[in-house]
Amino acid sequence: MSDLSPQDAYNFAYLDEQTKRMIRRAILKGIAVPGCQVPFASREMPMPYGWGTGGVQVTAACLVPEDRLKVIDQGADDTTNAVSIRRFFQRTAGVATTGATGEATVIQTRHRIPETPLTEGQILVFQVPIPEPLRFLEPRETETRKMHELEEYGLMHVKLYEDVARHGQIATAYAYPVKVEGRYVMDPSPIPKFDNPKLSGSPAIQLFGAGREQRIYALPPWTGVVSLDFDDHPFETSKAPHDCDLCGAKDSYLDEVITDDQGGRMFVCSDTDYCAGRRARGMKGRLWAPEPEGAA
């Protein structure tokens, strides 16, 4: 491997101490004002903007040598970018890694919250592309900052209401906006709205890092997070109306996998650890079969 110099050429967890202090200060301010976007002087990381540099910087500022790190992308530990980020920290921080949600102390994620409930002592770090929930309604940062200051979220409600008027329901399926402790409207990152309820009242610390946009925000444990909705059109989660074809789970978020060009498809848990754990405990779905020798 030649894409990084040996571990000892870099500081623990890659970032220099001054950079970590700057990020740590931003994290603490984010914790103190849940849901509020705190600017931080995001560094250029040895991976592209948009590929998790915000999450990587937050993780780097939090890691201790005793941590067990789990990295997922789309719910899976083996997607290429998750592999790449996990390797980065194996190399630069020397931390142990795991695929098991229950064993991890720090979990960096892109687009999902694990199905297995998180616990106290865990930190969930989200990679965030566009931290500003109002950005697609108002492109100017100078304006959106004012809207947060004045708690002027009417534009967001108008947008959601237009959805209702046009489609009979709120037509946002992921990155569904939430309100934190009755104050800040927050982008939960592009998780499917299926995951939104897990944001609220979690025993774990949830940290959000947006590298290119230079923002950090946070949800302390046991924080009230409400998905925006209307009395007559309450928020509802959604998932494919199936059970997992491998483990039979009825309650997990599913990926749709095209199996042939005749319209054949199957539905499998997006959370690969959750699915494998269920199968290991003997639970079987419609298309379950023993893993072939030598696989994995």
Partner: protein, 189 residues
């Protein structure tokens, strides 16, 4: 005195500051919980925990206010050598350290701007002891009821009323540390 100033920093800063930050993060994210930190031996009268918090969070880019007995030559020299934070008046400080009485009136400290609430001071309040007994705390980060022996309640209730503006507080005693962000509601006693 200069020789003393050279002592008491982290021996292995990257790892020790990482471990200490995790404790501080837990303290701030779970207001009222009392954590332990180690790795620094700052000069008297600073507690170990206050010294650790300063080493973890402050540097030449943060303005530091030393209050009361913390504003002494030994601490100033130690800060100059290990941290390099410019010393500042209370009104300009990003961080302040000292006993509660010496930090008064706390209304002097920065509470952030309406568009940037994060630009507020963090107070490191030196206490004789920290125990989970005193006014009840509720708010983000607090699941079951929590209590903490705060030096007073009125100032923290006034600070909560400014939310999302306000200062944030770390309490230190010996090697123990607890957090009280501006979001915490403090029971009136």
């Amino acid at each position: 005195m200069i020789a003393d100033a050279l002592e008491g920093g982290f021996a292995e800063a990257p790892v020790q500051s990482a471990r200490a930050f995790r404790e501080i993060l837990e303290a701030m994210a779970r207001p009222g919980t009392i954590r332990r930190v180690q790795g620094a031996t700052p000069p008297a009268p600073l507690s170990i925990a206050a010294g650790v918090a300063l080493l973890v969070l402050t540097d030449p880019t943060t303005r530091l206010h030393l209050a009361g007995e913390a504003d002494c030559p030994a601490v100033r020299d130690w800060v100059a050598f290990h941290i390099g934070a410019p010393l500042a008046k209370a009104e300009d400080a990003d961080f302040a350290v000292g006993p509660w009485e010496a930090l008064q009136p706390v209304s002097r400290f920065r509470i952030g701007q309406p568009d940037y609430p994060d630009r507020s001071a963090t107070l490191i309040v030196e206490c004789d002891r920290l125990v989970n007994h005193g006014p009840a705390l509720t708010g983000p980060g607090i699941g079951a009821a929590t209590w903490l022996n705060l030096p007073e309640t009125a100032a923290f209730r006034a600070n909560r009323a400014l939310f999302p503006l306000g200062f944030d507080t770390l309490f230190t005693a010996g090697d123990r540390i607890a957090g009280l962000p501006r979001s915490t509601r403090v029971e009136a006693i």
